[in-house]
Amino acid sequence: MTALSALLAVPHVGFILAAYGVTAAVLGGTVAALVLDRRRQTRRLRRFDPRGRGAAGR
């Protein structure tokens, strides 16, 4: 509670937290989008390349 009160007492803390939050959300979202895209491509590639060589990325 004391730590939270100290944090909230920092001037403009909302702007600082929002800046770090937006950065985490945008960069985290980018990572998630890339991982999901990779999974989708790998799944589709396995369907066309049953031996899995393509999906393995070799």
Binding site: H12, V22, T30, L34, T42
Partner: protein
């Protein structure tokens, strides 16, 4: 470098490199965040708000760095017509857009308490907004043209045209009278920042650059898989189309 130019070699080498690069990125960002949020002192004028600098400035640097990488890839596409250059260019555009968006939003959130406004149409802010729009335009161009070779050449030309904006972004604060402060790290006479703030900033900049390198490698690998899939689908479609054509031809 030449070994990497072959897509098969690229997939093999980047596959080994990627886990190490990701681990180094995570460590660098963790150390950078501790330095930025805990170790660095508050600024004598801006107070704790200066902590936004440790994400805003690296995001701005990587936004421009990404465009320079895309420019190199665009030359690779147009001059050497290398398929990996196409893939590198296509993979970089969404990353550049993400870092530029981060730069714009964090700058806005820093501007409100320091300048009293979220946005002004000064040369630095406007040129970064233009950079963001160029990234969106390039993503749209890749989506709009179905044939990858044509899309790559069109995007490469647009990238080379758009590179004129990069020196404008960099030198806008020197060429025009802007609300945005002038360069305080890469400038004549050395950095204007105190080392207690400069080092956290440099570590965060290294972390953001490594993050870009990791995500870019990962995205290029996905792009290579996408192209392999497209080739397999075309190969599967051509005999089917030939059979259909033969049936239609043979019909009375």
């Amino acid at each position: 470098m030449m070994a990497l130019a072959n897509p098969a070699n690229f997939m093999r080498i980047s596959g080994r490199l990627l886990p190490w690069l990701a681990a180094t990125t995570a460590v660098c960002l963790l150390v950078g965040l501790i330095l930025a949020l805990v170790v660095a002192p508050p600024d004598y004028q801006q107070g704790e708000t200066v902590r936004i600098m440790f994400i805003h400035v690296p995001a701005a640097w990587v936004a421009s760095l990404c465009y320079m990488v895309m420019t190199g890839a665009a030359l690779g596409t147009l001059v050497w017509r290398h398929p990996l250059a196409d893939a590198a260019q296509k993979a970089a555009a969404p990353l550049g857009a993400a870092f530029t968006f981060t730069c714009l939003v964090t700058g806005s959130l820093w501007g409100k308490p320091m300048w009293g406004t979220y946005w002004v149409w000064d040369a630095r802010l406007t040129s970064v907004l233009v950079l963001f729009l160029i990234y969106l335009g390039l993503i749209g161009l890749w989506q709009a043209i179905e044939e990858p070779g044509r899309a790559a050449r069109a995007a490469a030309i647009m990238t080379l045209v758009g590179v004129v904006n990069i020196p404008i972004v960099k030198f806008s604060v020197d060429w025009w009278n802007t609300l945005h402060q002038p360069a305080s790290v890469f400038r004549m006479g050395g950095p204007a920042l105190d080392p207690s703030m400069l080092w956290p900033l440099l570590v965060m900049a290294a972390g953001f650059s490594l993050l870009f390198a990791t995500l870019h490698l990962y995205a290029i690998r996905t792009e290579v898989l996408r192209r392999r899939l497209r080739r397999l689908m075309l190969n599967a479609a051509v005999p089917a189309a030939a059979t259909t054509f033969a049936i239609v031809e043979a019909a009375p």
